[in-house]
Subunit: 244 residues, 2 copies
C-alpha cells in the first residue's frame, strides 16, 4: 500500500536532510516516483519502525545504515552506490564508463567531505551527545574550517574548471552537480564564515549551485514540504562556536 | 619506461599499506601486470614526485588523493571506485548488476571502517601529529573499540552468513573478500585486544580471511617484498594506549 506503482522506496531518517538528501535530489530531478517511507505516517505503513523492519529483512543485501533504496527486488545501500544505480537509469550521468567512473570518484569525495563535516560536531563518538565532546569539536572544527574546506573546495573548483566549467561530468546536469549543490548548501549552513572566506575562490562552484537551484523540478522541490530544512539533529549543524 | 606493457600503474604513498593495499590485493589475485609507481626508484621514473606529477596532470580526472590507478588513458581515484573498475575486468566480481551493487555497498562500508580506524589516532586534524591529539585519540579509540568494532564486524558477519557463509558476493572469491582480509589484518594489528573480544562472534569472517591468505597468488604476494608491513605511519597503527 505504501509502494509507489513502478516506483522507488527511499528509506532515511525523518527530520534531517542528511545523506538521504543526495538521493532525494536525484529522484526529484528525474521526476521519478518514490515514497519517502520513514516520513510517511505509521497508519500508511511508514515511520522509523517500518524502516528498521526493511533494514533487518534485507538479508544478504542488508545495508549498514540508512539511506537505502528499494527498487523492485533490489535493496541498495550507501549513498554513492544508490546514485551509481539511479544515474544511468534517469539520464543523470552519461552512459560511457569513463564518465560513470569520474562521477563516482567525485561523489565519493563528496561523501568524504560529508563524513568530515559530521565529525566536526562528533569528533569522539556518534554515541555521545555534542555537549559531551564540545571541547574536541572546537579543535576539530577549527582545523576543518581552516584546512579542509579550502583544500576540498579548491579541488572541486579545479576539477569543474578542467571539465569545462559548467558541469562536472558530460554536457548536462548529472547527479554529481546536484550533490555539489547540496554539499555547498550544507557547508554554507554550518560554516557561513569559513565559506565566505573561500567564496571568491570558488566562482564556478557557486554558479553551478545557482543553476541547480533554479532548475524547474529542483526549484519546485526546494519550495515544497518534501524538502527537509537543515537543523541541529543532522550532519550539517549551525553551532556558531564551531565556525570561527 | 616505467609502464608495464598492457598493464596498470598504481599510485600510492610508499612505506605504508594504507588504502593502496586494497587495490594491490585485487591486482595480485588477478595476476594483472602493474607497476607500483611511487615505490619505484626515481631513476626508474618512480617515487613520490612522479606520483604528485601524475596527480597534478590528470586534469578533469584529478583524484583528490592517492590511491589512484592509471589504465591506458583512464585515471581512476577513490579506492572503491578503482575496485569497481577492476572487479569485472578480472573476474573478481560477478557480472550481473545486483552482485556488483552489493559488492560496492560492502566495499564502501569497509571504506567507512577504514576512515574511522584512521581517525582513532587523528581525531582532530590530519595536519597535526598524533602526539598533539593524543588525549582526544584515547577517547575516540575507546569508543571505536567498544562500540564501532563490534557493530561493524557484527554486520559483516551477518551479511556473510546471509550470503551463504563462504563468500560475500557470488560463488567464488571477489574483491570484497580480499578487502575483508585486509580490514581484519589491519584491525588485528591496531586493536589486538578489542579484536580478541569479538573473535568468537565472527567465525565466518575469520575463516574467510584464512582462506584468502592461503590462496596461491595471495600467499605468494604476502611472502614477497611487494607486501608492505603495517607500521605507525599508516592507517592502522599499533599504539597500545589506544587498545584498552
Amino acid at each position: 500500500m505504501r509502494r509507489a506503482a513502478g516506483g522507488y522506496e527511499l528509506y532515511y531518517w525523518p527530520g534531517i536532510p542528511g545523506r538521504g538528501e543526495f538521493v532525494r535530489l536525484a529522484l526529484e530531478e528525474a521526476g521519478a516516483p518514490y515514497v519517502d517511507v520513514a516520513r510517511l505516517s505509521k497508519a500508511r505503513g511508514g515511520g522509523v519502525p517500518a524502516m528498521m523492519k526493511a533494514l533487518a529483512s534485507a538479508g544478504a543485501s542488508e545495508p549498514f545504515a540508512p539511506p537505502f533504496l528499494r527498487s523492485g527486488d533490489l535493496v541498495i545501500g550507501q549513498t554513492a552506490n544508490i546514485l551509481l544505480y539511479l544515474g544511468p537509469r534517469h539520464g543523470l550521468v552519461p552512459r560511457d564508463e569513463p564518465s560513470r567512473l569520474k562521477a563516482n570518484q567525485i561523489q565519493l569525495t563528496i561523501a568524504d567531505v560529508v563524513a568530515e563535516a559530521h565529525d566536526t560536531h562528533h569528533p569522539i563518538a556518534v554515541g555521545l551527545y555534542y555537549e559531551d565532546q564540545k571541547r574536541e569539536a572546537k579543535r576539530r572544527a577549527a582545523a576543518f574550517a581552516r584546512e579542509r574546506i579550502p583544500r576540498f573546495l579548491g579541488w572541486f573548483e579545479r576539477v569543474l574548471e578542467a571539465s569545462g566549467g559548467s558541469h562536472f561530468v558530460g554536457k548536462r546536469v548529472s547527479y554529481v552537480d546536484l550533490s555539489t549543490f547540496q554539499l555547498l548548501a550544507g557547508l554554507d549552513y554550518a560554516f557561513p564564515k569559513a565559506m565566505a572566506r573561500v567564496g571568491r575562490r570558488t566562482p564556478r562552484l557557486r554558479a553551478l549551485a545557482e543553476r541547480v537551484a533554479s532548475r524547474p523540478r529542483i526549484a519546485a522541490y526546494l519550495a515544497s514540504d518534501r524538502r527537509v530544512a537543515f537543523n541541529e539533529g543532522g550532519i550539517f549543524r549551525r553551532y556558531p562556536e564551531l565556525d570561527v
